[in-house]
Point group: C2
Chain length 118, copies 2
DNA sequence: TGTATATGTAAGTATTTGCTTACGCAACTT
DNA sequence: AAGTTGCGTAAGCAAATACTTACATATACA
């Protein structure tokens, strides 16, 4: 429980269980028990993960009768993507040509804040 | 100091201070004190963050006299990028249009005028 | 040589995390 | 109405995290 302080996307995806949950519900909404069936940890633990994902906007819950369907809203991942993309130039050897091309265009179109020198 | 168990890249970049460190040294190596100058936390705290980043391969340290220059090795970010990229289809409306556009011109790239591809 | 500089690391601490079990409640089923 | 199902949440706990101060060590410099 504690406080739900700085729930940001980076922290949300830091946990492997949460990444798996995202992976599970990315394509289709699932109710909580169905999600929990895929893990060895308890249902309340999954419920808490869902709560965290909800708090940072990665999941929206739609109630349907007594079930609650969890739907992924992955727009927040763009924050991660944008952050990582700044550094693609430092490792993009293994990136496919279209991808890197697209990234370059994208980097051109958006005004990123740059790593600041002193 | 507990154990340095599952140091993975996702967890490494979950901390905002570590993201700032990466941002600082992405372009140029810096010694530890220079890095620490940019933060309000103590030098040992920075040293510990560097250690974590080193343990997951994001930073390599090169000793030079009594200084230790920290150099970013951001290849590990590709793991994050690849993971996020799986879900790009779920959030990249603006990205998607550009992407499909690029795919089109990539498919028959002699018939289209391109954006400023650098 | 002695001292300042650059740094690692240990020890201690407060907070956060990720889990558990226990319980409560609303919504279906019979 | 009574039981079952689906779920949230509280309480408790072990471990991890992010810091601090104190100290050790190696290098540079006078």
């Amino acid at each position: 429980m504690s406080i739900e302080a700085r729930r940001d996307v980076f922290q949300a995806i830091a946990d492997p269980t949460r990444r798996q949950i995202i992976s599970l519900i990315a394509n289709k909404s699932m109710n909580l028990n169905s999600i929990a069936d895929n893990f060895n940890i308890s249902r309340p633990a999954i419920s808490q993960h869902i709560k965290i994902l909800t708090e940072c906007g990665m999941v929206v819950v739609r109630q349907e009768g007594r079930e609650r369907f969890c739907e992924a809203k992955l727009d927040g991942l763009s924050e991660v993507s944008n952050w990582v993309d700044q550094y693609k130039q430092f490792w993009n050897e293994k990136f496919d040509s279209l991808g890197s091309y697209l990234e370059r265009i994208q980097a051109d179109n958006q005004s990123n804040e740059e790593p600041n020198a002193d």
